[in-house]
């Protein structure tokens, strides 16, 4: 490919920020190219359950944005793509190399998922944050955009089962990486964030104790498209009834190199606690915090609402988590209000 493409704006990242920027620019009449590294648009938000403080269903408010973006005539979208070598030209424009990675499935795919049934390879599903498995050929998730399958070539056994079953003949193992030069006037970087890797705090036992999960894993258990039809403990599939939240895991902590506050976790924990009270009416939820950062419009009221629903908030930093034989977890913490070191038992811990 040598044809040179020109755009007014390159937007990097197709999360809610990238989509919103692309759409606004497109509506103002600018030509936009949106480049998303992942297989689908939507970023983190499309995977969330409900959003604080309005408790709107997240998928329901993200998908229309995403499909409006995908449809806008002024926006060209490249998913599963990245850019390399951004270079400023003398004209002030930027020369960029667009890299499209092969999906090994063409756009003819209808998203019927027949191939998934036949594929013999099972690996962890990254879109369910490893809670369940997926096949080596897979439609990323039910509301993915574009809803086209992709082959995870690293795990694929090249058995060809999918090729035989695909009614649209869209499997194409001959695809290769494509590079296209493009010229843009402006670049918007909206590549979002990564979640902190909790194995960097070994004291919390993530990865070792199965009933210690991340907030994203809990988020996935609370969405309509959740992997199980209920909130379950990963270790034994039991319904938890005494859940603990450990706040500031990886934030406000110089020992892991991150002194700043992530400013969303207090609120999403408060939100998840409220949703858990709905999903598991008998369960107790305790939030261990340093300070509750309920600062935005409607946030403080939302926090008070959680307290009113019976969520317990304990000011204290968790020092150590250990596992009992039955999979329950012992949390050792400094209870700041009493000044004592205490220990509490919970059957599921969310970091």
């Amino acid at each position: 490919m040598t044809e040179k493409k020109e755009y007014d704006v390159l937007v990097l990242g197709g999360g809610i920020s990238g989509s919103e920027s692309a759409l606004n620019l497109a509506k103002q009449g600018f030509k936009v190219i949106l480049v998303e590294k992942d297989l689908s648009l939507g970023g983190k938000m499309i995977h969330l359950s409900k959003v604080f403080p309005t408790l709107d269903c997240s998928a329901c408010i993200t998908t229309p944005k995403v499909s409006e973006t995908a449809r806008h005539p002024n926006i060209d979208i490249y998913t599963f793509s990245e850019v390399r070598d951004i270079e400023k030209l003398n004209s002030g424009d930027f020369q960029v190399t667009l890299v499209q990675k092969p999906r090994y499935v063409t756009e003819d795919c209808t998203g019927c998922q027949l191939c998934e049934d036949k594929c013999p390879v099972v690996v962890n599903d990254q879109y369910q944050w490893d809670l369940v498995g997926r096949k080596a050929i897979y439609v990323p998730f039910s509301i993915a955009n574009p809803r086209i399958a992709a082959i995870d070539i690293e795990n694929c056994s090249l058995c060809g089962a999918c090729e035989k079953v695909c009614p649209a003949n869209s499997i194409d193992f001959s695809q290769v990486e494509m590079q296209t030069p493009i010229v843009v006037k402006t670049v918007i970087i909206a590549i979002g964030f990564n979640l902190f890797d909790p194995t960097l705090i070994p004291r919390y036992g993530f990865g070792k104790y199965k009933n210690v999960v991340t907030s994203m894993q809990m988020e996935r258990q609370l969405v309509p498209t959740r992997p199980f039809n209920n909130v379950l403990r990963p270790k034994d599939g039991k319904m938890p009834d005494n859940i603990a939240y450990v706040l500031c895991a990886g934030s406000r902590d110089e020992t892991v190199g991150n002194p700043i506050c992530s400013q969303v976790c207090c609120m999403y924990s408060t939100k998840q606690a409220q949703l858990l009270m709905g999903a598991l009416p008998m369960a107790d939820v305790t939030v261990y915090y340093l300070h509750i950062r309920a600062f935005g419009k409607g946030f403080c009221e939302f926090y008070q609402q959680a307290k009113g629903m019976g969520v317990e908030f304990i000011k204290g930093k968790i020092g150590l988590i250990t596992e009992k034989e039955n999979g329950n977890l012992l949390l050792r913490y400094e209870d700041i209000e009493s000044g004592n070191i205490k220990e509490a038992e919970h059957d599921l811990v969310v970091l």
């Binding site: 944005k65 955009n145 600062f295 409607g298």
Partner: protein, 644 residues
């Protein structure tokens, strides 16, 4: 009547299907005459389903569709667009809400939720059967915006709009620009001064020929709607000529000769100022103003400075703009007398006073002549009230007070800071300042929610007392030379403009947006936008972010010079109408006019003004008015289905 209707029942993941038996709803819908197909779907709004509906419309030649899903507030336009793409008129589509109205409302009774859903869906089908294809209505729009308030938000938005080619009328009530920010010297997080920030913005505003800035000016009337607001503004004169470059020596002299002294609002009453004044030397515009309410017209200033003109008159100007952006800011909370001993003990002041005090003090930090060493900061005054009205957190104040505590220590020696907090909320990168304050030796304490910090006076000493969470409920007392009440933000008293524009007010009494996540700078009134602290407490960065977003929204609304309106308007049957004036009298949008047709007077609808609210329908004595999209046959069809 429509003969080939497509019906889609959404499961909404499981939001709907957990409680509503969607298969049953589809089966019942399919039985209705005129229904060509009825399907269920996991997510009706998903791209793949949208494509499927389009395909169905084309291949099965559907002449109308019904989608039973969530509230039309969310997806009305999503499915209208599906219809348009498939070549169907968008008004041959009806959305039925079976989520908020059925599954969520009746989660305790799935059977009845299902029954209700069936009724609502059939009613939707009956309505769509009688639906008319309505043509799009387009009106011309002026690519011009009125921005109200020249604080950081207003100025930033004005500059951005002008750069995008939109004409801007920027009005500021005060005689000087900058809003609150000009009152704070060094700002978190950059340590720039407020004056620097304001001066930079002001220069850009002045340099742009698309921006007309009027100070001392307010909006006094408005008519029309989005695309074409006719506005009138009024300016109070500053009584000093703005045309010539002022001679500063003469002006200084005039100020010193002025015999009037009043409390200086700018310094929150810490100092006095004259009736002819400038709040600080570099304030902009670089011309003093006369506070005519307090001026006694003695003429002393005129004697030394011919640029003073006490004869200037109030003036008015008219403009037409396509949209209005409100950036009218917020006020600081004013503590009640006795609240933490405010106005009872002399050395209890507010954070905003403290900020001015640091700035105007010289070599030593003195308050009423007394040297300050121990400072007690009491947090959340006027915010996070459990019993009071202000339930919200003001979000800027933890960081602002910590930043001020750092500044005061940098400027003066021997200061000890004690922070009486309710849990510090230095979110995001502001956390760095909290760490810095702790490292410089500031003491942080935290009160229990049910036992607030107390301020008392004992033998002429001011004592601040707390039961402290951080030391496991120790009772701690500090003798303070100065008590600083960390006051939050409250909505500005701005009733004139709020009622003129009918701006929606939220529970917290700040201006309210349509949706905090998806439409954070628009209001429910088309063409009226909000940004900055008039919406909720914000830092400068957050205020400016919202200002930029509002500028982009306004520009994208107006730049094509055309706006599409909802065609669901009132329609007059000219045969039946006998012009009695009843409808015109109730129309809240002045959309009904008297006109003459074939020698007979009848009512006529001004399309640009009609909002389709339907107020005129029931008052017409001869039933000559119908509302497109909600005609009698459609409504009657629905009602019969619901009661059957």
């Amino acid at each position: 009547m429509k003969q080939k209707i497509g019906v889609y029942i959404c499961q909404c993941g499981s939001n709907i299907s957990d409680y509503v038996n969607v298969e049953e709803v589809a089966a019942q819908a399919e039985k209705i005459e005129g229904v060509a197909l009825a399907k269920t779907t996991m997510f009706a709004c998903a791209d793949s389903t949208q494509k499927e509906i389009e395909e169905d419309i084309k291949s099965r030649q559907l002449d109308a569709i019904v989608v039973a899903s969530c509230s039309p507030k969310l997806h009305l336009f999503t499915f209208r667009n599906v219809a348009i793409r498939a070549g169907l008129n968008p008004f041959n589509y009806v959305q039925v809400n079976v989520r908020e109205q059925c599954s969520w409302a009746h989660s305790n009774n799935p059977k009845q939720a299902t029954e209700k859903a069936i009724h609502l869906v059939i009613a939707g089908i009956e309505r769509v059967k009688h639906s008319k294809a309505l043509p799009a209505i387009k009106i011309s729009a002026d690519n011009a915006v009125l921005v109200v308030g020249a604080g950081v938000s207003g100025m930033r938005a004005a500059i951005e709009l002008a750069k995008m080619g939109t004409e801007v009328v920027l009005i500021e009530k005060n005689h000087f620009v900058g809003g609150r920010v000009s009152q704070w010297n060094k700002l978190f997080i950059t340590d720039e001064t407020g004056q620097e920030v304001v001066a930079r913005l002001y220069q850009e505003v002045k340099n742009h020929n698309k921006i007309k800035l009027f100070t001392g000016t307010e909006l006094i009337s408005k008519s029309g709607g989005v695309g074409n607001f006719d506005i009138q503004i009024q300016f109070t004169p500053r009584y000093v000529l703005t045309t010539c470059k002022p001679d500063w020596e003469k002006i200084q002299k005039a100020i010193s000769l002025c015999p009037i002294e009043v409390d200086d609002d700018f310094n929150f009453g810490l100092t006095k100022r004259k009736a002819i004044y400038k709040n600080f030397p570099s304030e902009l515009p670089h011309i003093p103003a006369i506070d005519i309410v307090n001026c006694n017209k003695c003429g002393e200033c005129v004697k030394v400075c011919e640029e003073v003109d006490l004869e200037q008159q109030v003036e008015k100007l008219n403009f037409r703009v396509g949209a209005i952006l409100l950036t009218t800011g917020a006020d600081s909370y004013e503590p009640k007398k006795g609240e933490f001993a405010y106005q009872e003990i002399d050395n209890v002041i507010t954070l905003q006073q403290f900020k001015r005090l640091i700035e105007i003090s010289g070599k030593e930090l003195l308050y009423h002549g007394k040297k300050i060493r121990n400072i007690a900061f009491i947090y959340c005054v006027g915010s996070r009230q459990q019993d009071g009205e202000n339930k919200y957190c003001s979000r800027y104040c933890c960081t602002s007070v910590i930043h001020s505590a750092i500044l005061v220590k940098e400027k003066y020696e021997g200061i000890f800071n004690f922070h009486f907090t309710r849990g510090v909320r230095t979110y995001g990168k502001q956390e760095i300042l909290y760490n810095k304050a702790a490292k410089q030796g500031d003491i942080f304490l935290q009160s229990f929610e049910d036992s607030p910090t107390e301020v008392t006076s004992e033998n002429g000493k001011t004592i601040v007392k707390i039961n402290d969470i951080l030391t496991a409920n120790m009772e701690i007392e500090v003798e303070a030379d100065l008590v600083v009440l960390v006051t939050g933000m409250v909505p500005r008293e701005n009733t004139a403009i709020s009622s003129l524009l009918k701006i929606p007010i939220g529970r917290d009494k700040f201006y309210n947006e349509v949706h905090p996540k998806l439409r954070p700078v628009e209001t429910v009134i088309d063409g009226i936008l909000i940004a900055g602290t008039c919406q909720s407490p914000k830092t400068i960065m957050e205020s400016v972010n919202s200002a930029l977003s509002a500028a982009a929204k306004a520009n994208s609304l107006l730049r094509t010079g055309e706006i599409e309106l909802e065609p669901t308007l009132a329609v007059i049957d000219k045969e039946t109408c006998d012009w009695c004036d009843a409808c015109a009298a109730v129309c809240p949008y002045d959309a009904i006019e008297k006109s003459e047709v074939n020698g007979k007077f009848v009512a006529q609808i001004a399309k640009a003004n009609c909002k389709g609210c339907g107020m005129c329908l029931p008052v017409c004595p001869v039933n000559a008015i119908q509302l497109d999209g909600y005609t009698d046959v459609e409504m009657e069809g629905m009602i019969s289905a619901l009661v059957s």
